[in-house]
């Protein structure tokens, strides 16, 4: 038993650190530091992707022949970890970390040849069309129809909660091609060119004022059958592969550690109820210590999943547990950051942040006046947006159902 990194891993880590020190401009670091959600400023994140691509590190998990890195899972973890600790803006996962893997696994030579290089360069930017107004937690009940007509599938229906649909020029989505049999059958995994006629994108304004999520309306949109991934009616297999296949590259513990550090710095500079630094208030210090302890423990659990996967094993429901713990910890931290920001935590000033999308009727003062400091402008928006953590990617209630069934046999 051993929790330390090997000498090779440490050498690799230092190489990554050197790269980040050199390439992360102050503006890029700001884009990472002043995020108000898990989504980085789109332009900054694409700029960072280009820099990584230049170094050959844009898609570490891909097979080398497609432009990936010959890294171990541990190295990939270290790369992500160091990127987070250095405050690099995260890349959009939809293309590189998601659809690309199904194209690699199920795609035709033509699909691979067309999409993979363009995803790497950012020329093609994907969004994910899974949820529908009537199909949230119950994804398999989705009803957007795709009717075969010659070489095309004609798509009609609606998708919702589509991140960056505005910025994306392609969508990968699940459509209903067959209504017979179990609801998981008759689903097809389809790539849609967002410039096709008949697609309307409506931005959804969130409580933070941000417009990152969207609803799309598809009215007789013609999509070539050549854009089907895998077989028609067999999309659930493809989607499940995407959900279950552990390919590393996620590092939640470092993100939580960065947040805890930010809170500690913030609380040391703000007054508590008794006028002394908030960090010295026993109540606040106790809550922060409790969160830090949970993060220490979370990191061990994350390491364990990593080493299980690295050994070719299947972490099983441990990933559901990490999803629950990670999102609930993150929400706790946003509460502490909001508390630390004091009365100014109530002030709405997105202009001092780097949101992941446009902001509705934002009121940036002419003189760019900022009440307090940038982190105080981030605090309430981060708090509001982070409520999504326990809702999306399988709500935490769904995750608990999964663990009850798979881990406890209930």
């Amino acid at each position: 038993m051993d929790l330390s990194w090997s000498a090779e891993d440490l050498a690799f880590r230092d190489e990554v650190r050197a790269f980040l020190d050199e390439k992360l401009t102050p503006d890029l670091r700001d884009a990472g530091r002043l995020m108000t959600s898990v989504y980085a400023d789109h332009e900054a994140s694409m700029r960072w992707q280009a820099i990584l691509h230049e170094r050959g590190w844009a898609a570490p998990a891909w097979p080398v022949e497609h432009g990936g890195c010959d890294w171990s899972l541990t190295q990939h973890y270290l790369f992500t970890r160091e990127s987070v600790l250095a405050g690099a803006p995260p890349l959009s996962p939809m293309g590189i970390s998601q659809v690309a893997h199904v194209i690699i696994e199920f795609g035709t030579p033509e699909q691979k040849e067309y999409f993979l290089p363009r995803i790497l360069t950012g020329e093609i930017f994907f969004c994910q069309g899974y949820s529908e107004p009537e199909s949230g937690s119950d994804l398999a009940s989705l009803s957007m129809t795709a009717v075969a007509d010659g070489d095309d599938l004609v798509c009609s229906g609606s998708k919702i909660w589509t991140t960056h649909a505005h910025e994306a020029n392609w969508m990968f989505c699940l459509v209903r091609t067959n209504r017979t049999g179990r609801k998981q059958q008759g689903i097809t995994f389809l790539l849609i060119d967002m410039t096709s006629p008949g697609i309307e994108v409506r931005p959804l304004v969130m409580t933070s004022g941000e417009q990152i999520q969207n609803q799309e309306f598809f009215d007789g949109v013609r999509v070539p059958k050549a854009n089907v991934i895998g077989r028609i009616d067999d999309g659930w297999t493809v989607a499940k592969y995407l959900l279950e296949f552990e390919r590393g590259g996620t590092a939640v513990a470092p993100m939580l550690q960065v947040m805890a550090g930010d809170i500690e710095r913030a609380a040391s500079g703000r007054p508590g109820p008794d006028g002394h630094p908030l960090l010295d208030s026993p109540d606040f210090a106790g809550k922060l210590a409790d969160a830090r302890i949970r993060i220490d423990v979370f990191e061990v659990l994350e390491f364990r999943v990593l080493s299980t996967s690295a050994a070719g094993g299947n972490p099983g429901t441990a990933s559901s547990m990490l999803k629950i713990l990670g999102t609930e910890l993150s929400q706790t931290l946003t509460e502490l950051l909001l508390e630390a920001s004091g009365p100014r935590g109530r002030v709405y000033q997105p202009h001092a942040t780097r949101p992941g999308g446009p902001v509705a009727d934002v009121v940036a003062p002419a003189d760019r006046y900022l009440s307090g400091e940038p982190w105080q402008a981030v605090a309430p928006l981060r708090y509001l947006n982070d409520r999504a953590g326990t809702i999306y990617a399988g709500s935490n209630e769904i995750q608990r159902n999964i663990i009850a069934k798979a881990a406890l046999g209930l």
Binding site: G209, P271, Y348, Y369, A388, I391
Partner: protein, 386 residues
């Protein structure tokens, strides 16, 4: 032992509720909030003239109906239920509470008539949520005063007719003694010399501002009450303010819980209403229990406001702890049960969640009031009105 509103109180509640149901549309009120004006003056006029809610707690000689804490809480709860952004608590409860104790009958009359609107400039960049933490200074300056320093998150500035300013005229930064209160006529369109105003919106759709006081001159009669004894006016008024905000929160909580239960009955997943899942049922039961506790705590604070300072402060602290806890638990879970829709501006729940989040911290969150409660319980020198 009586938990019933009397006939007048029921009438007050029903007439206000009826008015808000007819006239206070959530969407329109949000538009007003983001507009240049920042509020709906017509609503305020109706409060004053048609409904008389602005004078509800004013003495008869100020044209008020002489109501007390119960009447204020009845109004505040209805305003919370309709998510009203117009400054009832700032002007009527906080401003009115201070002016009542300063016996400023004319201004009180103006409050009741809707012509006097007060923006409380109490918090400072270095004060957290603690109103007696005052660094702004006031110095005597030929017959008047000269104020220097910064105030932050001053709500209602956009449409206020007066600023209520706290400044230090003696003592150390956090002393309760040595604070003086000033009332300064104000017009956002032309701020006086020596005062810079940086306006912004709050997450709960209020208009607020930072004030930079750079030797702002205030005439001698701008002083409220006795020099250095401002806390005698402000302390009790702040307890009344917190109690009113707790009542407002109860209105928000009842509405957001009702919306959540209704949504859970109608929203279907896996072939059944999500409200049929036992885990969500028990979550809503726990929300319900939190709301009932918040209501009981707000009532306790309301009915103790006219008791002795310790009893009053203890009940107010207990209420704020309870309401802050409920605001977080019920607000967060209302969003959770609404899923993505709960995070959007498309439904009411998101707007109520933001107001409840602001209320959680307004005038101090749970920890602050829990410590205050402990201090009062042990009667160890904590100023009752802290």
């Amino acid at each position: 032992m009586d938990f019933q509103l009397n006939a007048e109180q029921v009438l007050l509640r029903d007439s206000l509720a009826g008015f808000l149901a007819d006239r206070y549309d959530l969407a329109r009120s949000r538009e007003a909030a983001t507009s240049a004006e920042g509020w709906q003056p017509g609503v305020w006029r109706a409060f004053a003239e048609d409904l008389g809610v602005l004078g509800v707690a004013l003495p008869a000689d100020a044209g008020g109906s002489g109501g007390g804490p119960v009447e204020v809480s009845v109004v505040a709860e209805e305003l919370g239920r309709a998510l009203v952004i117009e400054p009832f608590v700032d002007t009527v409860v906080l401003g009115g509470g201070v002016l009542r104790r300063a016996e400023a009958i004319d201004l009180l009359t103006g409050i009741g008539a809707g012509t006097v609107r007060i923006a409380p400039a109490l918090l400072e960049p270095g004060s957290a949520h603690t109103a007696h933490d005052v660094a702004v200074t006031a110095h005597v300056d030929d017959g008047g005063w000269k104020l220097t320093g910064e105030k932050t998150v001053v709500t209602g500035v956009r449409f206020a007719t007066h600023l209520l300013l706290s400044a230090r005229t003696a003592g150390e930064q956090r002393d309760h003694d040595g604070i003086s209160l000033f009332l300064v006529p104000f017009d956002a369109a032309s701020p006086p010399d020596g005062l810079r105003v940086h306006g912004y919106r709050t997450i709960d759709d209020r208009h607020a501002a930072d004030l930079v006081l750079d030797g702002l001159r205030v005439p001698g009669d701008g002083l409220l009450g006795v020099r250095d004894r401002g806390w005698d006016l402000l302390g009790p008024a702040l307890d009344e303010t917190v109690a009113a905000i707790c009542a407002e929160a109860v209105g928000c909580l009842r509405r957001i819980l009702a919306d959540t239960v209704a949504y859970a009955k109608e929203r279907r997943q896996f072939g059944q209403p999500i409200g049929s899942f036992q885990v969500l049922q028990h979550r809503m039961v726990d929300m319900h229990i939190e709301v009932e506790q918040a209501a009981a705590a707000a009532l306790l604070a309301t009915l103790r406001l006219e008791d002795g300072p310790c009893e009053r402060a203890r009940a107010v602290a207990a209420a704020k702890v309870t309401v802050s806890r409920a605001a977080r638990f019920v607000g967060q879970n209302a969003v959770q049960l609404h899923g993505g829709m709960g995070m959007s501006q498309e439904l009411a729940v998101g707007h109520y969640f933001k107001r409840l989040t602001a209320i959680e911290y307004e005038w101090g969150a749970s920890d602050q009031h829990r410590s205050r409660y402990t201090g009062l319980s042990r009667a160890t020198g904590v100023t009752p009105a802290e």
